[in-house]
Amino acid sequence: MSNTPQTLKYTLTHEWVARESDGLMIVGITHHAQKLLGDVVFLELPAVGDKVVAGKEFGVVESVKAASDLYAPISGEVVAINEVLNDNPGLINEDAYQAGWMIKIKANDPNDWETLLDANTYLQKTET
């Protein structure tokens, strides 16, 4: 898998988003983000049922040298969280786009998918 898959969409705050079905989005952090963070040691995620708001923080990813907020790419309700990351947060470093997925959101408005950045724009905006 490339470092910035074309099939996914992105945010300026380094989250990636996959569309599982119309209105159901999966969220994680990008390869770029995990590389900057270093070894992830802990992940604080919301509970299933919690509401998230686009642009507002939904959790915290903690590495050995930093603790960063995670920002919701779209507004909606959390319908699933990746419990495996509780015992194995390192998956975020190893496999950011697949095994390292964090939450699934049921979007309030499925069209919000269009507001997200495509791979090239993400790379462009975060290259500096």
Binding site: F42, E44, E62, S63, V64, K65, A66, A67, D69
Partner: protein, 456 residues
């Protein structure tokens, strides 16, 4: 400890090496308008002989009173070895370094301190200390609230918690918009289930319950039933405790069915002199589940790449120099030197020695109580078990009595009148292991004299 300043030659050599003419050149970034002028009010320096003489005159004016004041700071015997070791250069100079500068020796000592405190409090973890008891309570409350993720937290605190601590807590919580509900004491001077239930009927919201052991009046609270009540209501429990007392009484980690969530308080009784009211240190201990919410420094034990044991500051990402505005606290230091003294004190006394100190305090204080009751010169305000302090209602003005006692060479106690409206003319008297039977008898006699000599 010696202080060896640079010679004029040393200074010149260094300036040459740097490449400037004078020391002032090194400060040339500072705008001229801000540079301090000659400070004319400061007199010329004294010779060593003249200075020693001046200080001796000042020192001779110090009154050494026999201390029967408690109220949050306690007079205990500190074995000479404690400060003999704590004042060694290795401990004294590098007292609160950051990770890059911290020596393994310092880190190991802090780790030992944390281990001892967690053990003493019946808890899983401890941080490397905070500034004092009052701020450790504030941090404990904020920590408890963070761990609850309650959008509208409410803090319930017993009125029998030290008035200074409650004031500091209010100062810190008020700007954050967190309301504090004070719960009154019953007429035996403790927090009752009835009082909690009554408040719950008025407003059924409690995120954190704070209780003391012993409380400010020296009274022992029914910690088990109070802890269980709070847990049943979904609240966190914080125990503000005296560390010496915890060597003998049931520590917070063993309160109720699940144990209190956080233990905090003033560490001064552990080998720290009363001095001028400080510096002291605050301790903060908790259950493991709360570790990521714990403010301050945490020292961890690990292995280096050669598998040798090593110590390091850990979980630093929660601290303010990394997490900034979202850090667990703005505090990222600890009272390293006092913690050194406390650790040595606890090591020297050991579990048994500490327990004996506690028992001796209790026994000596019991003697005072019995004698005061027998002489019938003051009224015991709260009936029930006390640790080493108790409250006595005097038939005359407390201030005058204390003044008279001072003239007799005794610091008689703490006047609670300004802090509790219903407790006018009440004196909080403390007796520790430092007072002999003769001292106690002499105190009672002195009090009798003071009472006779004071107008009602």
């Amino acid at each position: 400890m010696p202080f060896i300043p640079h010679t004029e030659q040393d200074t010149q050599l260094m300036l040459q090496q740097i490449g400037v003419e004078s020391i002032e050149d090194l400060f040339d970034e500072i705008p001229k308008a801000l540079i301090a002028k000659q400070m004319k009010e400061i007199p010329e320096g004294l010779s060593e002989m003249a200075l020693m003489r001046l200080m001796q005159t000042r020192a001779d004016q110090t009154e050494t009173l026999q201390c029967f004041i408690g109220a949050g700071a306690y007079s205990h015997h500190i074995p000479a070895a404690v400060w003999d070791i704590a004042q060694r250069g290795e401990f004294l100079t590098a007292y609160t370094p950051y990770q890059a500068e911290a020596s393994q020796g310092s880190l190991q000592l802090m780790w030992e301190y944390q281990t001892m405190m967690a053990s003493l409090m019946g808890m899983d973890i401890s941080n490397a200390s905070l500034y004092d008891g009052a701020s450790s309570l504030s941090e404990a409350v904020l920590m408890a609230i963070r761990s609850c993720k309650d959008d509208e937290p409410t803090v319930w605190i017993a009125k029998s918690i030290h008035p200074f601590y409650r004031q500091v807590l209010a100062t810190i919580l008020e700007p954050q918009g967190i309301p504090i509900q004070e719960i009154s004491l019953d007429d035996t001077g403790v927090l009752s289930l009835d009082a909690l239930e009554a408040q719950w009927q008025i407003a059924p919201r409690c995120t954190v319950l704070v209780l003391g052991q012993p409380n400010f009046f020296g009274r022992l609270e029914k910690v088990d039933e109070l802890t269980d009540w709070a847990h049943e209501k979904g609240a966190r429990v914080i125990g503000v405790v005296n560390p010496i007392a915890m060597a003998w009484l049931k520590p917070p980690g063993h309160w109720g069915n699940k144990g209190a969530d956080i233990a905090c308080g003033e560490g001064q009784p552990l080998g720290v002199p009363l001095a001028g009211g400080g510096p002291y240190f605050g301790f903060l201990c908790a259950k493991l589940a709360l570790v990521r919410q714990m403010p301050g420094r945490l020292v961890g034990k690990t292995c280096d790449k050669e598998n040798k044991v090593g110590y390091t500051l850990t979980l630093q990402t929660r601290e303010q120099h990394i997490r900034r505005g979202k850090a667990t606290s703005n505090i990222c230091t600890n009272q390293g030197l006092l913690v050194t003294a406390a650790t040595i004190y606890m090591s020297l006394l050991g579990k048994v020695g500490l327990q004996r100190v506690a028992q001796c305090c209790y026994a000596s204080h019991q003697q005072l109580m019995q004698q005061l009751l027998a002489e019938n010169i003051a009224e015991q305000v709260f009936v029930g078990e006390h640790f080493h302090e108790s409250l006595w209602r005097l038939p005359v003005n407390v201030t005058t009595v204390l003044e008279n006692l001072t003239k007799q060479g005794i610091a008689g106690g703490f006047d609670v009148t300004p802090y509790y409206r219903d407790l006018a003319n009440c004196l909080l008297i403390c007796v520790t292991e430092t007072k002999s039977a003769e001292d106690i008898q002499a105190f009672v006699e002195a009090l009798k004299t003071a009472l006779i000599r004071s107008p009602s």
